[in-house]
């Protein structure tokens, strides 16, 4: 089979698009950052015991708390030191991720965004 050269570029672009779409490829924004909270606050913010559950909290609640913590670090609060590790923009991404259960727009270096196809089913599992 010989493809005409002028179609090759378009085909390659289409193949790339398909492969990307098929792969659960582009992670939602903030997912990796937010996953770093899970050691203490549970996978996807669903704490199992003894720590604050982040899943289901609103974006403004989580964002507001963390911004306040890093603005006024109290020596006896381990979370204040954790909050100090992140920029306001990173805190925004994490807060949005927990508030929406990961239904944030996909990250992409090209700035494009996609809507995850699992949206309706995932919504059911959250009480927002």
């Amino acid at each position: 089979m010989k493809a005409h050269p002028k179609h090759l570029g378009r085909l390659a672009a289409l193949a790339l698009l398909l492969a990307t779409a098929a792969a659960h490829g582009a992670p939602p924004a903030g997912r990796l950052l937010a996953s770093q909270c899970a050691q203490c606050h549970g996978t996807n913010g669903q704490a199992v015991a003894g720590m604050e559950k982040l899943a289901g909290e609103s974006e403004s609640e989580i964002y507001g708390e963390l911004i306040k913590m890093k603005a006024n670090i109290k020596p006896d609060e381990i979370m204040h030191r954790q909050a100090a590790g992140y920029s306001d923009a990173q805190i925004r991404l994490m807060a949005r991720y927990f508030a929406t259960g990961g239904r944030t727009t996909a990250t992409s270096s090209t700035g494009s965004s996609t809507t995850p196809s699992t949206r309706p089913t995932r919504r059911k599992s959250h009480d927002d």
């Binding site: 089979m1 493809a3 090759l8 085909l11 390659a12 289409l14 193949a15 790339l16 398909l18 492969a19 990307t20 098929a22 792969a23 659960h24 490829g25 582009a26 992670p27 997912r31 990796l32 950052l33 996953s35 770093q36 899970a38 050691q39 203490c40 606050h41 549970g42 996978t43 704490a47 199992v48 015991a49 003894g50 720590m51 670090i73 020596p75 006896d76 381990i78 030191r81 954790q82 100090a84 590790g85 992140y86 990173q90 990250t107 270096s109």
Partner: protein, 418 residues
């Protein structure tokens, strides 16, 4: 109509792929990508779980000979009797039933990075597209030391119980000697925590003589304020801290421990040898040829070896300079999992990953301290660096921190294994 066109397009793109027009990550999309993980500690288990959680189309195989993991975290409380072995033993079943991780109960013995295959002790050959090594630590030999007789207990399990037996064997007024290896080693505050709990246990049982702490480092490696305070006040007259002191040999038939300073007569002991990357990491040539290399150099964006492509190293064996602990291993595993998911989608790793460390150390039978730090990727140096103002220890050990310790451990266990 759509499916017909789609099939046609797939055939065409398949031909393009076969012609090498596409990069190798996309080639892997034609079949289910295969990730193989060696070692089911905090690093390996978290990696296996999160790759499946984030993209269930990727096949994940965990090679691990044991049916469960025994956690070093909280294991000093098994030594004192506050907890039992079941409290720190975590089965791998959930990784299989909930996340669909294939578990091969076998020991990986060799890696063929050219043909991308792992050989196991039972003679299996397991193929991979991406291999993740998480074998934990290995120990230097100390002349005369047999760790099956005199435990290091720096890997939990039978060693933990052997240490508990050492502690119980101390006669009233006797001498317990413990040694701390040159850093970096697994769990920076761990040995100091252990010294405190040994002293606490002996005091509570009215058997306290001396706990001699031989530290190969020039000073306390982690939580210096907390442990200096504990050694000089809470355990004054019991703990004798000797920095800059390295164990050179052991003669346990006569219970003598020889250091760079002198020879000490002990009643019981816990000698923790100097540590290095797991055997498989060394055997696969992942340390490179630099003299004295102990840990595998990796790219902190993906934890891929800088020496062998498609082999990633996470947890205690990797050499980014981040502290070696279960919490950090979990953090690195997620960065690696995210990079693998992106890789199979033809994407570059996240350019600015963050990790963090948080841990609680019991200081007495009722109080604990904590230690925390956040790391961010520094693009200029290519290193993970502590974010300013995030490295801190608790001002003082408290009962509240002791309670929080169990919340932290339960969530960390669950996030890593279930």
């Amino acid at each position: 109509m759509f499916s017909h066109n789609r099939r046609k397009l797939l055939q065409t793109s398949g031909a393009l792929l076969a012609a090498g027009a596409m990069s190798s990550p996309l080639r892997a999309q034609t079949a289910a990508p295969r990730v193989v993980v060696i070692g089911g500690g905090f690093a390996g288990a978290t990696l296996a779980k999160y790759v499946r959680l984030w993209n269930p189309k990727i096949q994940v195989t965990l090679i691990e000979p044991n049916p469960s993991h025994v956690s070093c975290i909280l294991s000093n409380l098994v030594m004192t009797g506050a907890l039992g072995m079941t409290d720190i033993t975590i089965r791998y079943d959930t990784l299989r039933t909930k996340y669909g991780v294939s578990i091969v109960a076998d020991r990986a013995v060799a890696i063929d990075p050219v043909n991308r295959r792992v050989s196991t002790l039972n003679g299996s050959q397991i193929a991979y597209d991406k291999l993740v090594l998480a074998p934990g630590i290995d120990f230097d030999a100390i002349p005369g030391l047999d760790s099956s007789v005199l435990p290091h207990a720096w890997q939990a399990g039978p060693q933990t119980l052997a240490l508990k037996a050492q502690l119980q064997a101390v006669p009233a007024g006797g001498t317990f000697v413990m040694s701390i290896p040159q850093a970096p080693y697994r769990c920076p505050p761990g040995p100091y925590e252990r010294a405190c709990l040994i002293a606490d246990s002996l005091l509570r049982n009215r058997r306290a003589g001396k706990v001699i702490v031989l530290d190969a480092n020039p000073d306390v490696v982690a939580e210096a304020h907390t442990f200096h305070t504990a050694f000089s006040t809470t355990y004054a007259g019991v703990i004798e801290y000797r920095p800059g002191t390295e164990v050179l040999s052991v003669d346990w038939a006569s219970k003598k421990i020889t250091t760079n300073w002198d020879t000490i007569q002990a009643d019981a002991a816990n000698i923790i040898p100097r540590q290095k990357a797991g055997k498989l990491v060394v055997a696969a040539g992942l340390l490179g040829s630099a003299p004295g290399a102990r840990w595998a150099p990796v790219n902190p964006l993906s934890y891929e070896s800088t020496l062998v492509p498609n082999v990633h190293v996470i947890g205690d064996s990797q050499g980014t300079g981040q502290p070696k602990s279960g919490h950090m291993a979990n953090a690195q595993a997620k960065v690696c999992a995210d990079a693998l998911v992106r890789y199979f989608a033809g994407e570059a790793p996240d350019p600015a990953p963050m990790t963090n460390s948080a841990c609680y150390s019991p200081i007495t039978s009722k109080t604990a301290s904590w230690l925390t730090v956040v790391f961010g990727y520094d693009a200029a140096s290519g290193l993970m660096k502590p974010v300013p103002n995030t490295l801190a220890e608790a001002p003082a050990p408290t009962r509240g921190h002791y309670e929080d310790m169990f919340g932290w451990a339960k969530n960390l266990f669950a996030d890593s294994f279930s």
